[in-house]
Structure formats: structure tokens, C-alpha cells
Amino acid sequence: MTRMKLALGSVAAIAFGGVVLAAGHADNSRQIEARNGIMTAMALNSSVVGDMARGNTEYDAAAAQSAANALAGLGMVGTGLLWPEGSSSDDVEGGRALAKIWEDRADFDQKWNDFAAAGVALQAVAGDGLEPMQAALADLGKSCGACHDTYRKPQ
């Protein structure tokens, strides 16, 4: 009986300890991975239209359109699943999301929505010629900076 009690007690202790450990270390590594991947995808697509806008490559309506489609699509990813509580740079390795995001989540979400809207606006004109594409891309670039000035940890 005593032995039985001891065994049950040990199992309970281990299980409880495991739960506590899990709660203390919410694993947000996949969210960080996804965030970093999405940012890289944004950069890759921006580089296609950005190099055209800068005059580094020749304007190509079809290539501009497909990059703009991707940017508009990336905006639709939203922030809900990717920036859970407990995934700031204070909490987890490998990310640069400042804790400020969760102090003013509504503002952060608004900044993302501004990016999403800029992506849709770029998508609407990217194939219409260099100048309209340049103007829409300038707005999209500003939407990137508007979030990164406040919510991204400096390197």
C-alpha cells in the first residue's frame, strides 16, 4: 500500500511538474519561424518591384504584377496566429518582436492592416506602368517602416 502510494505520488508529481514546465515554456518556435519566413517572402517580392522602381532593372509588367499579387497575399496572413502573447524578444530566442506590441496590440494590428491595404493598392496598379507602381510601392515601403520604427527590436 505504502509502495503503491509512493508510486502514485511520484507519477502525480512528475505529471504535475511536466505541466508546470510546459506552461513556463510555451513553445512559440514555429510562430517565430513563420514570422521570419513571411518577412523574408515580403523582402523577396519587394525586391522584384523595388529594383524596377529604383531603375536597377527594367520594368516588366507581368513580373511586377506577380510580385504585387504575392505581397497582397502576404498581407492577408494577418497577425492573429503569428504574434501570440509570450512571443516577444524578451520571451523567446530568434525573434525581434518588442514587448511593446502587446502593450498596444490594436495599434500593432492597425499597422499590419495598413501594410495589407498597401499591398492590395499595389496589386491594383503594379501592371499599369512604372510610375503608378513606384507611387504605390513608396506607400508600401512606408507601411513597413511605420511598424518597424516602434515594434521591431534594433539589432
Binding site: S46, G50, R54, P154
Partner: protein, 298 residues
């Protein structure tokens, strides 16, 4: 004994006199003010001086974008080792701002850090750099200022630790650090223009150069990077030792805010790009040429 006391007292009085002399606010000299008074300001040219000088980055309200950056109502807080500075209202409002100032008062404030009442401004206001600006640029800037809106918001006080809370102590800081002249290397016409934009107006070094214990710039490590005063991360080294982008990549970044890999600009630099995107391609190219000309410092 008595003689010794008198001697000590005499030394103390002399030391106080020296301290009073060293820390006194010194406005622009008469000839500079006379030169300024003879100039006619051009508000269109002054707008470029305004954006190159980065006035809006600190004096517009936190988070302002677009046209709102012309409302210089102040209020942004700047943490530092000495306490928290708060940017004052420098809009055209005659009481809350600086709308009632003369050009001479504006130039004394901007280039010597001396208020119309004759007291020191703290060097969070980069007047040590602006001191290198031409009189014509100051006159143009003030002409542009006349076109800016008035805002009635009251300026908020700084929150500083003793002895920095005593304004007169700024005189000692100026004695040690102000009046240094141009520091970076510049040989070609573009590099010289870039140095003027970077050092006299743009004050890049205020963030990108490390400081000593009293807050003076370490000019032996010009633009070699520094801890971020917010306490998080570092302001990058932008000498060629670390800034390996091409001249045109730097100029393009200053215009559209994208790095060569199309990562986006972040932090306070977002505001700097918002300013510099208003300059000409030539001016951004000049800043890039100047940066590439600096000695690489690891």
C-alpha cells in the same frame, strides 16, 4: 594662519570666477549676427534645410506621419544616461512655441544653444553640429519656419538627475565639446556637400558616434556605432568597415527605406529616411559619397 585662510579664500574666489566665466552662455558674435541681418531668406530653399536638419524627427508629436510632421508641437521623450529630455514646442505659436522670435534669436538658439532669455539649452538639441551651418541656410530655414503651423500645446519639462538638472552646467559641456568643426573626411565636391549635410545639418554622428562619460562625442570613433540610448541594441557602425553597401545602395536606402536585401528601415532611422526622402537625388548621393569616404573603423 590668517594669511593661509586669505590665500584659500582668494583661490576659491578665483575658481568661482573661472567657473562662472567657463559656464556663461555665449551667443553668436556680432559680425555673424550682422551678416545674418543682411540676408534675405528663401522659404523654398529653407524647406530642404528643414528636412536635412531633421527638425521634425524630434519636435513633431510622437508617431506623426505625412503633413502632421510639420506641426512642431514637441512632447517626444528621449531617455539618456543623464535623465529624460522632452522636445519642446517649437511651432510658430507666439506663446507656446517660437513664433515671436527674431532670426537672430533663432540662430542663437540653433547654432549656440542659447535661449532668447540668455540661458543654455541642453545638447540633446544638436546645436554643436548646427553651428557649422551657413548663415544663408539659417536665414532660409527661418523663412520656411514662417510658413509652418502654430500649435498651442505646452512644452513639458525635462526630467534630469543632479547636477545635469542645473542648466548652467551645460556651459561646462559646451566649453569641452562645442566648436569642434568638421570631423569627417571629404575631398571631392560631392563628399564636401555630403559632409555639410551629414555634420552641419543632418547630425548623423549624434546617434552613430559613441560618447564619453560626460556625453561628448568620441571623435576618434566617428560614425563607428554606439549603444542605443533607449537601452536596447546598438546604433550601427556606418563607416566602410561595416557599411559595405555601394554608394548607390546607400542613396537608394535613404530615399525608399529599403536595404539592398529589401529589408525595411527600422527604429529612429525610419524618421530620418522620411526626412531625407524629401531631398534631391544629388544630396542623397552626396551623403552616400561622404559615408564611403570615411576611414573604416572596426
Amino acid at each position: 594662519m590668517r594669511k593661509a585662510l586669505i590665500r584659500v579664500a582668494a583661490v576659491a574666489v578665483a575658481a568661482l570666477a573661472v567657473a562662472a566665466w567657463v559656464t556663461r552662455p555665449v551667443p553668436l558674435p556680432d559680425d555673424a549676427l550682422a551678416e545674418l541681418a543682411a540676408l534675405t531668406g528663401d522659404p523654398v530653399a529653407g524647406e530642404s534645410v528643414f528636412w536635412a536638419g531633421g527638425c521634425a524627427s524630434c519636435h513633431a508629436a510622437e508617431g506623426s506621419e505625412g503633413e502632421a510632421r510639420l506641426i512642431l508641437s514637441g512632447g517626444q521623450a528621449f531617455p539618456s544616461d543623464f535623465g529624460t529630455f522632452r522636445a519642446p514646442n517649437i511651432s510658430m505659436h507666439p506663446e507656446a512655441g517660437i513664433g515671436a522670435w527674431t532670426l537672430a534669436e533663432f540662430a542663437n538658439a540653433t547654432q549656440r544653444g542659447v535661449s532668447p532669455q540668455g540661458s543654455h539649452y541642453y545638447p540633446a538639441f544638436p546645436y554643436a553640429g548646427y553651428a557649422l551651418a551657413t548663415s544663408q541656410d539659417m536665414a532660409d530655414l527661418w523663412a520656411f519656419w514662417q510658413t509652418l503651423p502654430a500649435d498651442g500645446s505646452a512644452s513639458q519639462p525635462h526630467d534630469l538627475a543632479f547636477p545635469f538638472s542645473i542648466r548652467r552646467s551645460v556651459g561646462g559641456w559646451k566649453f569641452l565639446y562645442a566648436g569642434a568643426g568638421f570631423t569627417g573626411v571629404a575631398e571631392t565636391e560631392a563628399q564636401i556637400r555630403g559632409r555639410y549635410l551629414s555634420e552641419a545639418l543632418g547630425h548623423c554622428a549624434e546617434c552613430h558616434t559613441p560618447r564619453d562619460a560626460l556625453g561628448g562625442l568620441d571623435r576618434t570613433r566617428w560614425l563607428a556605432g554606439a549603444p542605443n540610448p533607449s537601452g536596447q541594441g546598438n546604433i550601427p557602425n556606418i563607416t566602410p568597415a561595416r557599411l559595405t553597401w555601394s554608394e548607390s545602395e546607400i542613396a537608394q536606402y535613404l530615399k525608399d527605406g529599403f536595404t539592398p536585401d529589401f529589408d525595411s528601415v527600422g527604429g529612429h532611422m525610419v524618421s530620418v529616411v522620411a526626412n531625407l526622402s524629401r531631398l534631391s537625388d544629388d544630396d542623397r548621393g552626396a551623403i552616400a559619397a561622404y559615408l564611403k569616404a570615411q576611414a573604416p573603423i572596426e
